[in-house]
């Protein structure tokens, strides 16, 4: 067996196209499809957390809703014992090795969900309003500060949301939900084009 799995060599077409209206006024709304990423869902018991962190060098945040990020990867704490790692494909082989190593030492679960999700990067002064058309969370920066992440819903589709800057969000959803989610972005952007107050 080759040491480099074939998924590291091929990149997939994620099958989502972003309508023009979502990039026409990037200072207000700029929605981009994030390229292919590898994703790992990790379930660790709380009592093992410190040891797993030490053994894996993964910066698993403590609190639900917290996140940690480096240039190449983000780690989100989604639940009391649940984390998700989203990383560049170049990190995939290394993360798989890490997952394999820690699962030999600890009772935990690591699941590769790389191609289950697609991600959007949303920036601009209106993107909080854009997300709020389908998501009832309060996205004011003092209630949903930079670095906060959560699983939630957007027009009944489950999404994962991370605030990366005051006017920038990272949004993931299941690949099959993505055209549906994107269609609501498009409707909002089209509607605001004609609204002179925004």
């Amino acid at each position: 067996m080759s040491s480099e799995p074939i998924t590291d060599l091929l990149s997939i077409d994620q099958g989502i196209s972003i309508p023009d209206v979502l990039t026409r006024h990037p200072e207000k709304i700029d929605v981009r499809l994030v390229g292919e990423r590898c994703r790992y869902n990790i379930r660790v018991q709380r009592e093992d957390l410190d040891a797993v962190r030490a053994a894996s060098a993964l910066d698993l945040p403590d609190k639900i809703g917290a996140s940690s990020a480096t240039q190449d990867r983000k780690i989100l704490c989604l639940g009391p014992d649940e984390w998700i790692i989203v990383a560049h494909m170049s990190e995939a082989a290394r993360l798989r090795r890490t997952c394999r190593d820690i699962s030999q030492e600890f009772t935990l679960s690591t699941v590769d969900i790389s191609h289950r999700n697609v991600a959007f990067s949303l920036t601009g002064s209106l993107v909080a309003n854009l997300i709020n058309i389908g998501c009832p969370l309060d996205l004011a920066v003092d209630r949903f500060p930079i670095g906060k992440s959560t699983r939630t819903v957007f027009e009944n589709a489950e999404i994962m949301l991370l605030r990366e800057s005051k006017t920038g969000f990272y949004l993931e959803t299941w690949r099959s939900f993505a055209p549906y989610v994107c269609s609501f972005f498009e409707k909002f952007a089209t509607a605001t084009q004609y609204d002179t107050n925004t």
């Binding site: 639900i64 809703g65 989604l78 639940g79 009391p80 649940e82 009832p136 969370l137 959560t150 699983r151 939630t152 819903v153 009944n156 489950e158």
Partner: protein, 100 residues
């Protein structure tokens, strides 16, 4: 829309993220084979159907994905408190709307 406090996330979240999961504190019989049909039916189907204070389970399905318990007044639909699964049944706060 109700705002429900998730005891795991420790914040109030919109109702659409949650799903209801029936009455709380119903223990599965330790040895089901010892039960007759009537007792088993009682465990499976018979519920308090309270008018007023009701102890019930919720799941923060589209959030932390955890089940927890809540105390809700079925008359006013106000959630009095929520607490983690496995914690003892707390006393309800004040009289229920159903007592009026």
């Amino acid at each position: 829309m109700l705002l429900i406090r998730c005891p795991y996330c420790e914040e109030e979240r919109p109702e659409v993220e949650f799903s209801y999961a029936g009455e709380a504190h119903i223990a599965r019989p330790a040895d089901p084979s010892q039960l007759n049909d009537e007792q088993w039916a009682e465990y499976l189907f018979i519920r308090t159907n309270a008018r007023g204070i009701h102890y019930e389970r919720w799941c923060h399905r589209h959030g932390c994905a955890r089940y927890f318990n809540a105390v809700r007044d079925t008359v006013t639909d106000k959630l009095q408190m929520t607490y983690k699964a496995g914690e003892p049944k707390p006393d309800a706060i004040g009289p229920s709307g159903g007592d009026k």
